[in-house]
Symmetry: C2
Amino acid sequence: MKLLVVGSVAFDAIETPFGKTDKILGGAATYISIASSILGIESGIVSVVGGDFPQSNLDMLTNRGINIEGIEIIKEGKTFFWSGKYHNDLNSRDTLVTEVNVLENFDPKIPESMQDAEILLLGNLHPGVQLSVLEKMRNRPKLIILDTMNFWMDTAMDLLQQMIGKTDVISINDEEARQLSGEYSLVKAAQKIHKMGPKFVIIKKGEHGALLFHEGKVFAIPALPLEDVFDPTGAGDTFAGGFASYLARKKDFSFETMKSALTVGSAMASFTVEKFGTQRLEEVTESEMLARIQSFKELTTFEVNV
Amino acid sequence: MKLLVVGSVAFDAIETPFGKTDKILGGAATYISIASSILGIESGIVSVVGGDFPQSNLDMLTNRGINIEGIEIIKEGKTFFWSGKYHNDLNSRDTLVTEVNVLENFDPKIPESMQDAEILLLGNLHPGVQLSVLEKMRNRPKLIILDTMNFWMDTAMDLLQQMIGKTDVISINDEEARQLSGEYSLVKAAQKIHKMGPKFVIIKKGEHGALLFHEGKVFAIPALPLEDVFDPTGAGDTFAGGFASYLARKKDFSFETMKSALTVGSAMASFTVEKFGTQRLEEVTESEMLARIQSFKELTTFEVNV
């Protein structure tokens, strides 16, 4: 199955307790597509960058088999840039700079070669832009996965509600689930979000893992306990990319397959946090990925015989 | 296997967003022993109460098969009393009243009938009192499980370090693990705590579940996502009681058995939080317990075939 990814391709400058970077490659669509390429899935990015975006980054994506026909280059514009500094616990961060640049007037264009994508993963973007992608697709994809954030709940709630209503799987963090639903209990929050549309609700809890809710059932996957989280940037996007790509690989959207997909997403995300930016993810081999998934099996498997 | 439990038998007055109680039965040893009785384990409590402690509470324990020979009654004294108010998120609380009362000069006495206990579970108490229990046992129990809290790290660290040095399994929460080790990463914290003595380190994360570390291996169990946590009081003690009792039932202290024990402890704790105090735990039947353990299997089981 083909995966269409709509999201940012960007520059980040990151500071953590372990060091800092200059402008490096970032953006949700970047992490998602690299994760997909590790899983051998044909993905295509729809995004926009400026004339300052290096050809070498585009080549890296192409060399991984990622379809970049949908990345528009606005020569006279500048690429989206985010800079942030993580606190000592790496669970919170301050945004130092956000330059929206060419993303301000992003008008997504779906290349003909991706019109037949069966899975659409909408990375965190203005919900109006996310809705416009649906209108531009000739057929509704078989599965629509939505990532969003609290910023759009504060600034574009009506459009966001419309978008959520057209979504099959929503992926948000615990605080966002609470804000979106007005419920503190994540079980109740998921129930309310189901009523907004999505049959599958993923709630991400960072170092505490993630929950998947579906038709009154729930699945929990812990995060892999790590000695150090070096840089959390892109972990959520990598998770979404691993999740969607496993579904694409299995060509199945059942709850059982989604549980496995959640695990694969978590395993992929555990690589991303080991180095700055996409650095570690770009190095991951298939055998490393399989070993990491096995670590999750060992982390979570038990037999009880009371 | 017999389980010796040393810890408080007390009164609590609890306020949560859902209501409040007068003085009700509480105390670590109470929760631990009730959990043990559900699992059919012969446990004995060593504790102290005042003349104000109702015979009906003692009868309830006896009727469950719990050995209360080691509960000293100081007629002229008053029972330990704690009162607290939980915040809206139920993850934090304010202590309103702590009356230490007869626990102030607690001098634990091990009844002859419990000298042959193979598992010793030391509930949260002054580490000097915990150490004195070891001196009073004719033989070292096969397994010593220690619960403690940050209060003793602040006020009696030397004695606590001695006690930890004699412990096989330590059970503490994430903040306590960080304070005890000086490490933010829970993996690094567990490594440092291993060096203090315990071969098994359990780190409790409340609504996010628990981790078990042993010889470089790690196991994670999520908490069961609940619609409402009604009253978290006693959840950690119930967890410890379920954990120790499963080991007693299996007569085995391997990492594999401890993983299962952690799951049983989590399942038991998920009952405790459903009502005030010990109310829900006292109602739990064996079939309910087995069903709850099955829920944990469903919550955590996945198959990945990449």
